[in-house]
Amino acid sequence: MADYREAPLATRPKTLDPNEYFNLSPDYRRAEAERAALRAGLKRQYQLQLNNPHRKELIEDPALNRWVYARANPYNHFKATKKTSLLGALFGVAPLFILYYVFKTDRVCYGGR
């Protein structure tokens, strides 16, 4: 069976910290309890799939799918802002002209050294 650890970068909810618990309002505590129930449901789904003896395929992680899709399809959501235009000009357009100038001058004036 695989070990289960907490996600190393996730923050602990305030309601689980005994020093903070009594400073929080009942509404907040109720909201945190609902969120904890949702999280427990997700963990239960993962554990059910993980320990299913008839499972043959990978467990699907929707977050991973979203991340991979985002990394693979940047052009669909591209917007021409000042920053992106500057980056495009700096890395895509200007080097071509600079390199053309450098090579032409080098070959014509100095014979390629």
Binding site: D3, Q49, K56, L58, L64, V68, Y100, F103
Partner: protein
């Protein structure tokens, strides 16, 4: 030539008439025998340079390595496809093998053509089986988009080539590769001749691909099934390089001025696509962009029109063909186990599949041009001839080599080292077929170290 062409042509009746039990062994055996027969072409004994010559087809030291590569690749493609096709109905399997065999036929005719129009027709004809393979046997819905990009980029680039070739035929009276080097240069008005030069070259630059026109390649390579990716990376890109090398002779006095923008694009493309590789999450996409990067170097080597440039380009084309095809096969072994191309999902494989790690290691080292492999020989020759052309190119090619090493090692470490994902259960062990496939890719690459002059083209004295 006929002893290779007729068996390849008859691979088509073979696939349709053998019983389903013997289909794959028969197709494999026949294509392997064709491949072994094609190695005899490497023996170039004539003084004029053209061996196996008749009115339509011939081989010379430039086309021979590419012909042997494309013949060698067919059994490898069949080996790689056996698993994912085994669950399909028989007719579709036969159709697949038919498409690969017709592609092989067109490729042999293209590389062996002595007449430029025949080369052009075969160049276009290879698009059709590849398009069918990508759009019908690809795995994701994006395959339709990929097929469209692939077809229309290449077609749009090659229509001007038809016009340019017809103009050349009108002016010189012939398009035979044996006569064209000695014909009078084409004299047109100044601007017209620049357009003619561009028309000749654009088709091959799109096919290679050159950095600005490379968008079709990651899509097509990623969405194609493994045999499609293999043949695209290994041979179809080299059609572009081969066409450029053939036509350079005719384009001579114009080329001095016209090549600058394309060399700039090619070299900057080496760096840009290499950097994109470092950010990829999709394994096949990484290998596809690395193909663009290597082909940028090849384009640079061809465009400067020096002997070492041509030699380096030819060696790098063959070595890259074998190494890139090997990497796509390895990516396919991952895909068949996890049904996902994401690199994060298939990491730490050294613990699970240690023997496959050996092949990953050799293929990654080949990709990063480790000495004494022929990849390094090609890259060094191109690097030094570019340095001779202009000293400033060394900065670009040096950074490019560095980035190539970085992403090849990144790919190896990401897929092999590190912790295995915890939910990974059913990883079937490596099949013997997969080991055979990788061995057949990498052992020729290692053997070329012993006699690289086979691949030096016209300048192997």
């Amino acid at each position: 030539m006929l002893k290779i062409l007729i068996p390849t042509l008859f691979l088509l009746p073979t696939t349709w008439l053998t019983s389903s039990k013997w289909l794959w062994p028969t197709a494999l055996t026949q294509s392997m025998l064709i491949a072994l027969g094609s190695i005899t072409w490497l023996n170039n004994t004539t003084d004029t340079g053209w061996t196996a010559l008749n009115s339509y087809i011939g081989t010379d030291p430039l086309s021979t390595p590419l012909l042997v590569l494309s013949c060698w690749l067919l059994p490898l493609m069949l080996l790689a496809s056996q698993n994912h096709l085994s669950s399909e109905p028989m007719n579709r399997q036969r159709m697949y093998i038919t498409l690969l065999a017709t592609l092989q036929l067109f490729l042999i005719l293209a590389f062996g053509a002595t007449e430029m129009i025949m080369f052009y027709v075969m160049f276009e004809a290879t698009l059709i089986p590849t398009l069918l393979v990508i759009t019908r046997w690809g795995n994701q819905t994006e395959r339709l988009n990929a097929g469209t990009y692939f077809l229309f980029y290449t077609l749009a680039g090659s229509l001007p080539l038809l016009v340019a070739l017809l103009m050349l035929q009108n002016n010189t009276g012939t398009l035979s590769l044996l006569i064209i080097p000695y014909a009078k240069p084409l004299l047109l008005m100044p601007f017209g001749s620049k357009i003619w030069w561009a028309a000749c070259m654009i088709a091959f630059l799109v096919k290679m691909p050159l950095y600005g026109m490379h968008l079709w390649l990651p899509k097509a390579h990623v969405e194609a099934p493994v045999a499609g990716s293999m043949v695209l990376a290994a041979v179809l890109l080299k059609l572009g390089g081969y066409g450029m090398m053939r036509l350079m002779i005719v384009l001579d006095p114009l080329s001095k001025e016209m090549v600058y923008p394309f060399i700039v694009l090619a070299l900057w493309g080496v760096i840009m696509t290499g950097s994109i590789c470092l950010r990829q999450t999709d394994l096949k996409s990484l290998i596809a962009y690395s193909s663009v990067s290597h082909m940028g170097l090849v384009a640079g080597g061809i465009l400067i029109q020096t002997p070492w440039g041509f030699t380096g380009a030819l060696i790098l084309m063959i070595a890259h063909g074998l190494a890139s095809s090997a990497l796509f096969c390895l990516a396919n072994t991952n895909y068949e186990r996890t049904h996902s191309r994401t690199m994060l999902l298939a990491r730490g494989l050294q613990i699970a599949l240690p023997l496959m790690t050996t092949w990953w290691f050799i293929a990654s080292l080949a990709n990063l041009a480790l000495p004494p492999l022929p990849n390094l020989m090609g890259e060094l020759m191109i690097l030094t001839s570019l340095f001779n052309w202009s000293a400033w190119t060394l900065i670009l090619t040096g950074i490019g080599t560095l980035i190539t090493a970085a992403y090849s090692l990144y790919m190896f470490l990401m897929s092999q080292r590190g912790p295995l994902p915890q939910h990974m259960l059913a990883l079937p062990p490596s099949y013997t077929r997969e080991h055979l496939l990788m061995a057949l890719h990498l052992i020729p690459l290692l053997l070329i170290i012993l006699k690289p002059t086979l691949l030096w083209g016209w300048f192997a004295c």
